[in-house]
């Protein structure tokens, strides 16, 4: 962004006469010609379905009989209000989103701070940090099932070696399933967060650090007064995005537990998927989608308000 405004400005302040000859005369058909190829599929396959999906939430559409679909008003939403299973999954979705996002952020921040130092083997950590990012989510899920496997998994074997119990079926235990999938979520999403924070760190001016150090500021004080203020916009943006992505996640938990045991890891997306494509309740599932969008919109609104406030303070 900053480079863009920097490069734009000279053109704007120059006397118009030197630039203008190249501008096309008449209405700007060129721009529309360039925009249309993308705009068309976006409207037809993205914005269209979104509106269609919202409309479906007010119908009794089912997979078997889409012909005789009727408008039912807010009936789906009224049913949803009383659907304790849905609210359970909504709550699990919130616990999962926060439970993944917060440790992920703290760990990624630590790793980014380390990778920003001149350490040997830093390249190895940078290379490794990319691995979870490159893996298909399905493979991440499969991989961690191998780790968590009660008999043949490395986790229980390590615990046995350390004399800590005879092993546990982590993904099937009512109490351990959600924490176990949260660990996987943290692992899987760390790279993006680390890369974003690392870039933020590299934008903080080194001279400020040195000046603060010369003034006798300790590591924590330097972090609080120099590093964090520079990092804050990136940190807030990536945290808001992570919360949204995690709340809407599907593949990882589908492979790890498929929502079990007893619905303890049934994220809202898993619930809506089953409702739509196992039971064929398209209208009802669409209503769930609407509620999820509403929840996420609140989050976006909150972060926007914070940003606007921040701008005013400056």
């Amino acid at each position: 962004m900053s480079s863009a405004t920097a490069t734009k400005r000279p053109g704007g302040t120059r006397t118009p006469r030197t630039v203008r000859p190249a501008r096309p005369r008449g209405p700007d058909f060129g721009a529309w010609f360039l925009v249309l190829p993308a705009l068309l599929p976006i409207l037809v396959l993205s914005v269209g379905p979104l509106l269609y999906g919202i409309a479906l939430a007010f119908t009794d559409a089912q997979s078997g009989r889409t012909q005789s679909t009727r408008w039912v008003g807010t009936l789906n939403f009224q049913d949803l209000l009383h659907d304790t299973l849905f609210w359970d999954s909504f709550r699990i979705g919130l616990v999962w989103a926060v439970g993944v996002t917060v440790p992920q952020f703290l760990l990624a921040l630590g790793l980014a701070l380390l990778l920003n130092q001149k350490l040997r083997f830093r390249w190895l950590a940078r290379a490794l940090a990319i691995v979870p990012w490159a893996m298909p989510e399905v493979v991440v899920g499969i991989m961690w099932r191998l780790v968590y496997n009660p008999d043949a998994g490395i986790l229980n074997e390590t615990l046995r070696d350390l004399g800590l119990g005879q092993g546990h079926d982590w993904l099937s235990g009512l109490a351990t399933a959600l924490p176990a999938v949260i660990v996987v979520g943290v692992w899987a999403g760390m790279p993006q967060t680390t890369v974003a924070l690392l870039a933020g760190l590299q934008n903080t001016p080194r001279e400020l650090h040195e000046a603060a150090a010369l003034d006798g500021a300790g590591a924590w004080r330097r972090f609080r007064t120099v590093t964090w203020p520079a990092l804050r916009p990136v940190a807030l943006a990536i945290t808001a995005l992570n919360l949204i992505w995690n709340f809407n996640s599907f593949a990882l938990v589908y492979v790890l537990t498929n929502g079990g045991p007893g619905g303890r890891t049934r994220l809202p997306m898993l619930f809506a998927y089953e409702e739509a494509f196992r039971y064929g309740q398209f209208g009802y599932a669409a209503a769930m989608g609407c509620v999820m969008v509403a929840a996420v919109s609140v989050l976006i609104a909150l972060s926007l308000v914070r940003r606007l406030k921040g701008d005013q303070d400056r």
Binding site: P24, L45, G53, L114, P132, P136, I142, L146
Partner: protein
């Protein structure tokens, strides 16, 4: 410089922390590889070891016997290549216009990018399912490609806008002053400078499509049409009881293409993502 020299105990602490991170990041992946090369008796052992005592390729053979992995990889390749190519061809002009002109269109485009990140896909997949069904494109790779193109457009747009902004507008103005027309400027000045960015974006779109699971799960019904991630879940079986060796072998193979792309493009992907994302 000297003011920032770290004390010796702090250094040791840093290396210990780095080691802990390396272990956390690496151990599941190493375990996957170890499991993939273990013979059946070792997998059944109650005391699994890190390094296979008698490494074998039998799991890979068995994986190919049990599931149509080659055809699934072929489907994934076709879907991901087509989606990446179309997405880039379609997104580049839009990215150019939105990056160069600030106006209502640019605001709308960035707004759409942000909003599209927040969609729970279930709200979009039901209508898409119905639309594709009416077009008889359910259970077909072209139908999936259409969905992938739209799904990867926001991110492609985001990355490409960053790359366009990195091309100095002065270069285009200079060409214009020299009498080059608008199209000529685009083709002979801007486009060549954008090529590396376009390639990086295409590869990123390729990897996201190669890894994608949800849309493929919903839209592809028969094993002949399914992509690799969907076929992988068949190894898990109905009750979640899995043949660990072939499962690990197939999962390991499915990761290789994305790993190669990421290894080659590590810097560019991070840079491109940040060019857009960090505003």
């Amino acid at each position: 410089m000297s003011a920032l020299r770290t004390s010796r105990p702090a250094r040791i602490g840093q290396y210990l922390a780095l080691l802990a991170y390396l272990v956390f990041l690496a151990f599941p992946f190493l375990w996957l590889i170890s499991t993939a090369f273990k013979p059946a008796p070792e997998l059944a052992s109650l005391h699994p070891t890190w390094i296979p005592e008698e490494p074998t390729l039998a799991n890979f053979r068995q994986a190919f016997d049990e599931q149509p992995l080659l055809r699934a990889a072929g489907n994934s390749l076709v879907a991901a290549l087509a989606a990446a190519l179309i997405a880039v061809v379609v997104a580049t002009p839009l990215a150019y216009v939105t990056a160069r002109h600030r106006g209502r269109l640019a605001t709308a485009a960035t707004g759409w990018v942000v909003i599209s990140q927040a969609f729970p896909f279930v709200l979009v997949i039901i209508p898409l399912f119905l639309i594709l069904k009416n077009l008889h494109l359910i259970n077909s790779v072209p139908g999936l490609v259409m969905v992938y193109v739209v799904w990867s457009l926001p991110f492609a747009l985001w990355m490409l806008m960053g790359y366009v902004k990195a091309v100095p507008a002065e270069l285009e103005e200079a060409a214009a002053v020299d009498g080059a027309g608008r199209l000529r400027t685009l083709v002979s000045v801007t486009a060549p400078l954008l090529v590396p960015g376009i390639v990086a974006t295409a590869l990123f779109a390729f990897v996201t499509a190669w890894n994608e699971f949800f849309f493929a799960l919903v839209l592809l019904k028969t094993p002949e049409k399914q992509t690799l991630p969907v076929v992988l879940t068949h190894f898990l079986g109905a009750e979640g009881v899995a043949d660990l060796g072939p499962l690990a072998a197939a999962a390991f193979l499915a990761t290789l293409p994305s790993l190669v792309v990421f290894a080659v493009l590590q810097r560019r992907i991070a840079g491109g993502m940040l060019a857009g994302a960090v505003k």
